[in-house]
C-alpha cells in the first residue's frame, strides 16, 4: 500500500521543464528520502503532493486522494516543513499554534507543547527574532502537532549548525518511531539520508532514475548504508540517466 503515488508527472514553470515524467511510490509507514541535485524538481514534487501545484500531466495521489481536488482533506493529514520558516515574523510560537489549531481537527495541544519542550523552542520570542535553527524547530513542532499521517520535509536540515541538525533529526526519528508514519524528505545531506531512509529515490533531469530500499544503494559487502556509499550510488544512477538521455 502506497501513501503517495506519483505517476508520469510533467511540470514546467513557463518554458522551463522541471519534471518530465516523474514516477514515485512512497509506501505507507516508510521514510523515503528524495535525493538529487539543485533544480531537478524535488521541491516541485513536494508541492504537487501538498496540492499547491497542479500537474500539467500525470497523476498524484496522497492517501488515495487527489491533493488538488481534495486539498483540504489531504492537507489536514499532511504535515509540511519548508526549507525555512515561512510564517509571519511578528508571531510567537504560542501565537502560531493558536493560529494553526483551527485548521487541523487532530491538533494536539499537549503534543505541541511536548515537542516544543523537547526541542527547547523559545516561546517568548517572535519568529523575526529567532535564529534559523530555532525557527526550523518551531516549524517541525507545528508540523507534528496534528499528528499527521504523512510528513513532507523540504530540506529542513539545510543550513543548520550540527547540534541543531542533530536535535531536529532526532525529533524526526522519534516522530517516525512513535507510530507508523509516512515521510517523504528532501535532503542534500547524505548523512541524514543514511540515518533516516528506509527507501531512497534519486531524481535527475526531472525523472526518478532510481528508487528502492536504502540497502539497494550499497554493495552487498557494505555492512550499512553510509554517506560515501550513497554518494557513489547516486553518481552511478545519475550517470545511467545521462547515458539514457543521450
Amino acid at each position: 500500500m502506497n501513501a503517495i503515488e506519483i505517476t508520469d508527472v510533467h511540470q514546467a514553470y513557463g518554458r522551463k521543464r522541471v519534471l518530465q515524467g516523474a514516477t514515485l511510490r512512497v509506501p505507507t509507514g516508510a521514510t523515503t528520502v528524495l535525493l538529487g541535485e539543485n533544480g531537478e524538481g524535488k521541491t516541485t514534487l513536494l508541492r504537487l503532493c501538498l496540492g499547491v501545484l497542479k500537474p500539467r500531466t500525470g497523476t498524484v495521489r496522497v492517501l488515495g486522494l487527489d491533493p488538488v481536488r481534495s486539498a483540504r482533506r489531504v492537507r489536514e493529514q499532511v504535515g509540511f516543513v519548508p526549507d525555512k520558516p515561512d510564517v509571519y515574523g511578528w508571531m510567537t510560537v504560542p501565537e502560531l499554534f493558536r493560529f494553526l489549531k483551527p485548521h487541523y481537527p487532530t491538533w494536539s495541544e499537549a503534543r505541541a507543547k511536548a515537542i516544543v519542550a523537547a526541542l527547547a523552542v523559545p516561546t517568548d520570542r517572535t519568529f523575526k527574532h529567532m535564529s534559523r535553527g530555532e525557527g526550523m524547530k518551531a516549524m517541525l513542532a507545528a508540523a507534528l502537532a496534528p499528528d499527521p499521517e504523512v510528513l513532507l520535509l523540504d530540506e529542513p536540515f539545510a543550513g543548520l549548525d550540527p547540534l541543531v541538525r542533530e536535535e531536529v533529526l532526532r525529533q524526526v526519528i522519534t516522530a517516525v518511531g512513535d507510530r507508523p508514519r509516512t515521510v517523504l524528505c528532501i535532503t542534500h545531506d547524505l548523512d541524514v539520508a543514511a540515518r533516516l531512509a528506509d527507501r531512497i529515490a534519486v531524481l535527475s533531469k526531472g525523472v526518478v532514475v532510481r528508487e528502492g530500499p536504502a540497502s539497494d544503494f550499497v554493495a552487498p559487502r557494505e555492512e550499512a548504508v553510509t554517506p560515501r556509499a550513497l554518494r557513489e550510488a547516486i553518481a552511478h544512477a545519475a550517470g545511467l540517466a545521462a547515458v539514457g538521455a543521450r
Binding site: Y13, L50, L53, K54, R72, W90, L100
Partner: protein
C-alpha cells in the same frame, strides 16, 4: 468559523499599526484641510458640498494608501507556498478575513472623516450642513459624498489588487493608480466629449463607479484564487484575472457599443424618433429639424431610472421635403439655435418661411465655448462658422440678415425691426437706435418677440415675478410691463400695452395700460377669450357664439369690433390658442372646446388671414389636434406641421387636405396623401 476568527485576528494584529496611523491621520489632515479651504467648505451650493465630499473621499484615499497597499503583501511571496496557500481551507478564509478588515477599516475611515468634516462645519456655525454630511444617504446633497466615496473605494480596490502582486506598498499604490486611472480616464473622456450619451450626474457616475468597483473586486478574487496554484507567479495570476475580466467586460462593452451604435443611427421609422422643433429654408424645400431620440435604455436602467430620467439625444437634421431624404448636421448633440425651442413658446412663436440661413451650435465640453455654424437656408451647405460668444466680421452681417429674415416685429412704417448687440435695427435703415439694456441679450431671436417689441427674457437667474422689461420696436425705449414675464403682452402702440392677467379660478382679464400715465383700462370684454395683435396694432380675438367660435378684430384706436368670415363652421366655446403672426401677418390658431374641467374636447387648426378678413379651417374638428405643431405657412395658405413628433405633413390649403412629406412610405418611397 474558528478559522475565520483566527485569520481575522491575524489580519487585525498585522495591520494594527497602520489602522492606528490612519485613524490619527484623518482627523489631523481633515482639520488642516478645513483650515486651508475654509471658504470653500463654508460656501453654499455645490462648491461647499463638493469640498465636504472631497474631504471624506480623501479619508478613503488615505485608507487605500495605508491599509489597502499592504493588504496581501504578507501572504503572497515570490518563492514558496505561504500559510494562506498551504494550510487546509485557508485561501477562502484568508480572503474573507482580508475583505472584512478592508471593509471595516474603510467604513471607519469614512465615519471618522465624516465626523471630522461635520465637526468642522459645526464649528463654523453650520450645524444643518454638519447633519447632512453625517447622513449622506438621506439627502440629495449626499450624492456628491456617495459618488466621491465610491470613486475612492474603486481606487482602494485597485491598490489592493496591486498588492497581490507587489509587496512594496509604494509600488502597489502606483500600479493601483494606473488601474484606477484607465477606466476613470475613459469615463471622464466619455462624460466630457460624449455627455449627450453618457451619464455625468453624480448619481449616474456612482453607478459607473460601482460597475468598475465590481470588475476590480472580481479581478482581485480571481487573482487571489489563481495564486493558489501559481506559487511565485502572482503577476501571471493578476494578468490572467484582469484579462479575463477585460474579456468579460469587452463582451459587455461590445454589446453596449452595438446598442449605442443603434441609438446613434437614428431612423425615422423607429419608435424613438421625435421631431421636437423645425423650420424651413427660404424656398421651402429643406426642413431644418431638431430630432430627439427618446431615452437611451441602458444607462438609464443602470442608474435605476428605468426609461425615464435620462436626457435624450438631440440631433440637428436636414430633411429634404421634396426628395424625402435626410442627413445629420454636425455632431450628435448639435442644437439648432434659430428655432423656437422653448417649450412654452412653441405654441406661441411665429411660423416662418423665410430663413436664408439657419444656425446651429456644438458645445465641445464642459465649460467650453460653443462653435456656431451657419448653414445656407436654400442648400443646407455650411456657409460659415465661428466661436461663440465672439462673432467675427463674417458672422455679424449673417446674424443681421438672419434676424431680419425671421423678424415678425415691424414699426409703424411696416419696416421689420430686430435687436442685435444692444441696438435696435430697422430694415432699410443704417441708423440703429442704442438699447443698452438689451446689450446682454445678444441672441434676442424672434422667439423673444412680442408684437410691437421684444420681451427681454432672463435666460439665467431668477425670473421677475411681477414685471418684465420690453423694448418698443417703434422707439427703442425699454419699458417695464407690470405683469408676469410669461404672460401674454402686446405693445399696441408706443407706451401702450395690452396684457392679460391670469388668476387661478378667475376669468382671464385683459387690460390696456398706458405706461406713461399708468392708467389702466379694461379691454376686450368677456367675450374675447383669446387674442393676438397684428402689426398695425389691431387685435385678433375669439368669442363664444352659441355652440361655435367666432373670430373678431378689435381696433383699439376706434374701439370698433368686426367679424372675420369663415368658410366652414367653427365649433367650440371660444377657446383658442394663437401663434404670433408670421412675416405676412397671418397666424395660426388652435380652436376648440376647452371645458372648465380641463378635459380635452374637440379642436381644430385654423389659418387666420386678416388681410383677406377670413378664417380658414385646415382640419375637421378632432380630439387629437394638440400633437400638431405648425412650423411654416406657405404662400398658398397651406401649413407645414409636425404630427405627433414623428411626421412632417402639409395641411391644406383645402379643408381636410393632408400630405405626409416625411418620412416616406419605405415600400413605395412615395408621399402618403389623403383627403378627408
Amino acid at each position: 468559523m474558528r478559522r475565520l476568527l483566527v485569520w481575522t485576528w491575524k489580519e487585525a494584529r498585522e495591520h494594527a499599526a497602520r489602522v492606528r496611523l490612519l485613524l490619527v491621520s484623518i482627523p489631523v489632515l481633515t482639520m488642516l484641510g478645513a483650515m486651508i479651504f475654509r471658504e470653500e467648505l463654508q460656501a453654499g451650493g455645490s462648491t461647499g458640498e463638493l469640498t465636504a465630499a472631497s474631504f471624506i473621499a480623501w479619508g478613503l484615499v488615505l485608507h487605500a494608501l495605508v491599509v489597502a497597499s499592504g493588504l496581501f503583501a504578507s501572504d503572497v511571496d515570490g518563492g514558496q507556498p505561504l500559510p494562506a496557500q498551504r494550510l487546509p481551507g485557508a485561501m477562502g478564509t484568508a480572503l474573507g478575513a482580508k475583505a472584512l478588515l478592508y471593509m471595516s477599516t474603510a467604513l471607519a475611515a469614512f465615519v471618522v472623516a465624516a465626523l471630522c468634516v461635520a465637526g468642522a462645519l459645526w464649528l463654523m456655525g453650520q450645524p444643518e450642513r454638519a447633519w447632512e454630511v453625517l447622513t449622506p444617504w438621506r439627502t440629495d446633497q449626499g450624492e456628491f459624498t456617495r459618488c466621491c466615496a465610491l470613486e475612492a473605494l474603486v481606487f482602494g480596490v485597485a491598490v489592493a489588487l496591486s498588492s497581490v502582486c507587489l509587496r512594496n506598498p509604494g509600488a502597489a499604490v502606483a500600479l493601483g493608480a494606473i488601474l484606477w486611472a484607465i477606466p476613470g480616464g475613459a469615463i471622464a473622456y466619455a462624460c466630457i466629449e460624449h455627455r449627450y450619451l453618457f451619464p455625468c450626474h453624480p448619481q449616474q457616475l456612482g453607478v459607473l463607479a460601482l460597475i468598475v468597483l465590481g470588475i476590480l473586486a472580481f479581478a482581485l478574487v480571481l487573482t487571489w484564487l489563481l495564486c493558489r496554484r501559481r506559487i511565485g507567479a502572482p503577476w501571471r495570476s493578476a494578468v490572467t484575472a484582469l484579462a479575463l475580466c477585460l474579456g468579460l467586460g469587452g463582451v459587455g462593452a461590445l454589446h453596449a457599443a452595438g446598442s449605442v451604435r443603434d441609438y446613434l443611427d437614428l431612423q425615422p421609422h423607429e419608435a424613438g424618433w421625435r421631431i421636437s422643433v423645425a423650420c424651413v429654408g427660404i424656398d421651402g424645400r429643406l426642413a431644418f429639424t431638431q430630432v430627439d431620440r427618446v431615452h437611451h435604455a441602458w444607462p438609464a436602467r443602470l442608474a435605476g431610472h428605468g426609461r425615464s430620467g435620462w436626457s435624450s439625444l438631440s440631433e440637428a437634421r436636414i430633411i429634404d421635403l421634396e426628395g424625402g431624404t435626410w442627413r445629420r448636421v454636425g455632431r450628435p448633440g448639435a442644437q439648432l439655435t434659430n428655432l423656437p425651442v422653448d417649450f412654452y413658446m412653441r405654441g406661441y412663436a411665429a411660423p416662418f418661411l423665410a430663413a436664408r440661413h439657419v444656425t446651429y451650435w456644438e458645445q465641445f465640453g464642459l465649460n467650453e465655448p460653443a462653435e456656431l455654424f451657419w448653414l445656407d437656408g436654400r442648400s443646407g451647405a455650411l456657409a460659415h462658422q465661428h466661436l461663440e460668444p465672439w462673432p467675427d466680421d463674417r458672422s455679424r452681417p449673417l446674424a443681421q440678415g438672419l434676424l431680419r429674415d425671421l423678424s415678425t416685429v415691424r414699426d409703424s412704417k411696416g419696416r421689420r425691426t430686430w435687436l442685435w448687440d444692444g441696438f435696435l435695427h430697422r430694415e432699410g435703415s443704417d441708423d440703429p437706435v442704442g438699447v443698452p439694456a438689451a446689450a446682454p441679450a445678444l441672441r434676442a431671436f424672434p422667439m423673444d418677440a412680442i408684437p410691437g417689441g421684444w420681451a427681454l427674457r432672463h435666460r439665467q437667474g431668477s425670473m421677475p415675478k411681477t414685471a418684465f422689461p420690453v423694448v418698443e420696436a417703434e422707439t427703442g425705449r425699454v419699458r417695464s410691463v407690470p405683469a408676469r414675464e410669461w404672460s401674454r403682452a402686446f405693445l399696441l402702440s408706443p407706451g401702450v400695452v395690452l396684457y392679460e392677467e391670469r388668476r387661478p379660478k378667475v376669468e382671464t382679464r385683459w387690460t390696456v395700460l398706458d405706461l406713461d400715465s399708468g392708467r389702466e383700462t379694461p379691454a376686450l370684454g368677456q367675450v374675447h377669450q383669446a387674442c393676438s395683435t397684428l402689426q398695425d396694432g389691431r387685435v385678433v380675438g375669439t368669442r363664444e357664439d352659441g355652440d361655435a367660435t367666432a373670430f373678431v378684430i378689435w381696433d383699439p384706436r376706434t374701439g370698433a369690433v368686426s367679424d372675420l368670415r369663415s368658410n366652414a363652421p367653427l365649433e367650440g366655446s371660444g377657446w383658442a390658442r394663437f401663434t404670433l403672426p408670421d412675416t405676412k401677418g397671418r397666424l395660426i390658431a388652435k380652436v376648440g372646446d376647452r371645458r372648465e374641467d380641463r378635459e380635452r374636447g374637440e379642436s381644430t387648426l385654423v389659418l387666420v388671414d386678416p388681410a383677406r378678413v377670413e378664417v380658414r379651417p385646415l382640419l375637421k374638428p378632432a380630439t387629437d389636434v394638440d400633437p400638431y405643431d405648425v412650423f411654416a405657412i406657405d404662400d398658398d395658405g397651406s401649413v407645414l406641421i409636425v404630427e405627433e413628433g414623428r411626421r412632417i405633413a402639409r395641411l391644406g390649403p383645402a379643408l381636410g387636405q393632408r400630405v405626409v412629406l416625411f418620412p416616406r412610405d419605405p415600400r413605395t418611397q412615395s408621399r402618403a396623401q389623403e383627403v378627408k
